[in-house]
């Protein structure tokens, strides 16, 4: 059958090499059996059109061959909710950054070509999408069941973890956002345009960022380690004081960096200090004020977080103490 041979040649192209001949042989045998049955029913050989119809029913060769491949998806249903959350957060942050960059360039009176700006934003979103997807694909490849475990022991779960998961700060989301932030921070240190966008033609980051760069990097790393510990905590719910201490170090360290930054003020400076202009000076003042208040709000939030971690540390400490004999109903002498 010419139509069958032609069709199978196409199917073969899309099949895994090791199984090509075997699959083609089996498919060919099936179609030939169908053709023989049809011929017996009609009492004559099938004509060209009938042969084509018989083969055409099988659908596109690529789709048929595709069914023989392993079923693989980049991010499976177990991790998809976390993937979706991180992706929307990352894309939202990216859009926000581009919005700020646009505002900065507008305020400075140096509007970059809108097409160039749109292409740059699109490229940034594409890169973000790619990075988040690759990270989750790697996690998914490691088998979510191996990460989460097969069984769920609710008796060993403390209420704090449940609350944290419900509030949406799942360790996997924090782990991935932490990794992405760290990568972005390292890249932004080398190319400040990642922070200032088009505004980097006019402004540059102040020298204070160079002094806090290693500290922010360290605390980002601590935050990633904490998210990793939280993940372990979800898998094997046994909170330890080391765990709480790490969280406290992360919050207090971050707070110290923020307070130090608040004492400086020149977060952004003019790229070309020799060419001052009233409009640029005004923009610079507005930007530095905005950053100052942003950092101040961040400090208050982080201080609150540090208080919560401190309370958790104390609670864990008292929980690890052996209970008082009276509390256990122990009566001396009995």
């Amino acid at each position: 059958m010419e139509a069958l041979d032609h069709y199978l040649k196409y199917v073969k192209i899309f099949l895994p090499r090791a199984q090509q001949d075997d699959i083609i042989r089996e498919l060919s045998e099936d179609i030939q059996s169908q053709a023989e049955d049809k011929e017996a029913e009609l009492g004559r050989p099938l004509n060209r059109m009938e042969q084509k119809q018989l083969v055409g029913r099988l659908g596109h060769p690529a789709l048929l061959a595709g069914r023989y491949g392993p079923r693989r998806q980049l991010v499976g249903p177990e991790l998809f909710p976390f993937y979706w959350r991180v992706l929307t957060l990352a894309l939202g942050a990216n859009l926000l950054a581009h919005g700020i960059a646009m505002a900065v360039s507008f305020a400075s009176g140096r509007l970059v070509n809108p097409t160039l700006r749109a292409v740059s934003a699109g490229f940034g979103l594409f890169i973000t999408f790619g990075v988040v997807t690759i990270v989750f694909a790697v996690l998914d490849y490691a088998r979510p069941k191996a990460i989460f475990g097969r069984r769920w022991d609710s008796s060993r779960m403390d209420t704090n973890t449940v609350v944290r998961v419900r509030r949406g700060s799942h360790p996997i989301s924090r782990l991935v956002t932490g990794i992405i932030f760290m990568a972005w921070w390292v890249a932004a240190h080398r190319s400040p345009a990642l922070i200032l966008g088009a505004g980097s033609e006019v402004f540059q980051l102040g020298p204070v960022w160079d002094s806090v760069y290693p500290w922010i990097l360290t605390f980002a790393l601590v935050s990633i380690v904490n998210a990793g510990l939280d993940l372990l905590h979800v898998i094997r719910p046994q909170p330890t004081r080391v765990h709480f201490a790490m969280k406290l170090i992360g919050s207090c360290g971050g707070l110290a960096v923020l307070i130090f930054l608040l004492t400086t003020g020149d977060f952004v400076v003019l790229a070309d200090a020799s060419a001052p202009s009233t409009r640029l000076d005004f923009s610079l003042k507005v930007i530095n004020q905005s950053i100052y208040w942003g950092l101040a709000i961040g400090s208050v939030l982080l201080a609150g977080l540090a208080m919560i971690e401190l309370r958790a540390w104390n609670r864990e400490g008292s929980a690890q103490q052996p209970p008082h004999p009276r509390a256990r109903g122990f009566v001396p002498g009995k």
Binding site: E26, L27, E29, D30, L58, R67
Partner: protein, 113 residues
């Protein structure tokens, strides 16, 4: 009614049933074409593009064994249940009957109410 949704739910419902049907039919040896015909005669038509990948998957999972043999002047691949496949079919049949009985009870309760 949304026809696409119906088609997708029907496909989902059929997927698990096909595995049990194929395993049950392969208690006796078949090659692909006769297996398809036997299933169609029992009211469970299945096309080539679904059956053959399924047979390969079940064989990879150790539930089927196959061999190429000559029959009617042509070489055909014959499939049958492996010992693991027999044990698995037994378990799946129990599960199937449990689900079937539960769904029937739920339907019965609904129609009685």
């Amino acid at each position: 009614m949304n026809p696409d949704l119906l088609s997708s739910l029907r496909l989902e419902l059929r997927r698990g049933c096909l595995v049990i049907a194929v395993l049950a039919q392969l208690r006796a040896e078949h090659y692909g074409y006769t297996l398809r015909k036997a299933l169609a005669e029992q009211g469970l038509a299945i096309d080539e593009s679904t059956l053959y990948p399924l047979l390969r998957r079940l064989e990879t999972q150790g539930l089927l064994v196959s061999e190429w043999r000559d029959e009617d002047k042509r070489t055909k691949r014959f499939y049958r249940l492996s010992p693991d496949g027999k044990a698995m079919l037994k378990e799946l049949m129990v599960e199937w009957q449990t689900i079937n009985a539960s769904v029937s009870r739920i339907f019965g309760r609904r129609s009685a109410a």
